[in-house]
């Protein structure tokens, strides 16, 4: 599927930013909705187990 160039750039920047060491502890409560849009605080980098619990 085709993604816009601006989204691809944002993903690339996001990967780089999230790869940097965290300088403060995350304090926010979980949010999974559109309220998050526009907030730049990086979330912790999480390995997702998916089904990989073997």
């Amino acid at each position: 599927m085709k993604l816009s160039k601006s989204l691809l750039s944002a993903i690339l920047i996001g990967i780089v930013v999230q790869s940097l060491p965290a300088c403060k502890k995350e304090k926010e409560t979980p949010k999974t909705n559109k309220e998050n849009k526009g907030q730049e605080t990086p979330a912790p980098s999480e390995p997702c187990p998916g089904c990989g619990m073997g």
Binding site: M1, K2, L3, S4, L7, L8, A10, I11, L12, I13, G14, I15, Q18, S19, E26, K27, E28, P30, K31, T32, N33, K34, N36, K37, G38, Q39, E40, T41, P42, A43, P44, S45, E46, P47, C48, P49, G50, C51, G52, M53, G54
Partner: protein, 386 residues
């Protein structure tokens, strides 16, 4: 309907780094997101939300839950919370379908432990059906379950497909056929692929998973190696061969998903293998898309996998005895210092001579269940890479 080559895509910098070239080259036709992995962490970065939104708007975002604990004998507060968050997430970000894992979660806390198998009884069937209705009620899209990688005995392996089919019947659901999970069963119990796949309701397969795993030496059964679905290696050649066969036998297939853990994608070499695995997978899928996949000359049949009649969950089905047995089993698997200790405790427990059929569990598989439970008992973040 075209089968879509997809990746399991989560907020993981190593995984996203590995996937980025594929996204940039427009090769990723759909993404599967484990939405509940982020229920307990901080904010979702806007760029990741935009990525999910782009696929959702294209009708190509699928959700894969991990933590609902479908067969817990007791309804847990965490399950109410999980459903509430799924409902909100599905409103904000519509999914094409939602899936969960088969089993119940070990561990004292809702977000700890690993999904383990359950007895295939009328009681667990009713509990599973009840929970699937509740998931449907929350997400209002097709609901499915994934086949397990782990079993205690070959008898259990042979019953799994039929039990899955009965579980999903009331919601007209579907199954994820995880081909590496089948590979684990094939290698661990010396069953042929053709024999095993025939035991699954292939017309109910809407999604296929591909991944890699690892081998572990059994201490209790010298010389035996147990295959585990650890998602930390490239896809074995045999699993790609299974895909070619499955594409011809699953008339309602829509998604083929490559899964790998980010913790196994930290080097340039491992990312290259991930990229190559995706190209191999999408090449097989494209070849099948370009031909009449099915023996009758058609490319697919059509099942919406939406309930055929209104779904109204009744009273929550619970069973205190089952729940106690699950707690006992979790406790034994997580804390026993040796196989012998675990076996002794199981024989003294209420699981002895019950629907659990612990008398038929293979020693190497009980040993493996202990390793899995002890790996994940502190939660999957701490359990990574062990």
């Amino acid at each position: 309907m075209k089968v879509l080559s997809s990746i399991a895509c989560n907020l993981d910098t190593d995984l996203l780094s590995a996937a980025f070239p594929l996204l940039e080259e427009e090769r990723v036709e759909a993404i599967e997101w484990s939405f509940d992995a982020l229920f307990h962490v901080g904010q979702i970065p806007p760029w990741f939300w935009e990525l999910l939104t782009a696929y959702s708007k294209g009708g190509r975002l699928i959700g894969h839950g991990i933590f609902f604990s479908l067969f817990s004998g007791k309804w847990l507060p965490g399950q109410d919370d999980w459903l509430r968050k799924l409902k909100q997430t599905s409103t904000d970000l519509p999914f094409d379908h939602i899936t969960e894992h088969f089993g119940f979660m070990t561990g004292k806390d809702f977000h700890q432990g690993a999904p383990l198998n359950i007895p295939y009884s009328q009681l667990t069937l009713e509990i599973g059906r009840d929970r699937l209705k509740r998931i449907y009620e929350a997400c209002r899209c097709p609901v499915g379950l994934e086949n397990l990688a782990f079993s205690y005995s070959p008898e259990e392996v042979r019953k799994h497909g039929e039990f899955l089919e009965r579980l999903i019947e009331p919601v007209n659901g579907f199954i994820i056929l995880d081909l590496h999970n089948l590979y684990c069963q094939i290698r661990n119990f010396s069953i042929g692929f053709e024999e095993l796949i025939a035991l699954y309701p292939l017309d109910r397969v809407r999604e296929i998973h591909l991944s890699g795993g690892s081998w572990e030496d059994s201490q209790i059964d010298a010389g035996r190696k147990v295959r585990r679905d650890t998602h930390d290696e490239s896809v074995p050649r045999e699993v790609f061969d299974y895909l070619e066969i499955a594409l011809r036998q699953c008339p309602n297939l829509k998604y083929v998903v490559l899964e790998q853990l980010g913790t196994a994608l930290t080097t340039a070499e491992s990312r290259r293998f991930f990229y190559d695995d995706f190209l191999t997978m999408s090449g097989i899928v494209e070849a099948a898309n370009g031909s009449a996949r099915l023996p009758d000359g058609s490319s697919n049949r059509c099942n919406s996998f939406l309930p055929l009649c209104p779904i109204t969950p009744g009273e929550i089905i619970e069973d205190e005895i089952l729940y106690e047995q699950q707690l006992q089993l979790s406790g034994i698997l997580e804390t026993a210092a040796s196989y012998e200790e675990a076996l002794g405790l199981l024989r003294q427990s209420s699981l002895s001579h019950s629907d659990w059929e612990i008398e038929s569990w293979e020693p190497a598989m009980l040993e493996t269940a202990m390793k899995i439970a002890q790996k994940w008992r502190e939660g999957w973040i701490n359990g990574k890479g062990q």
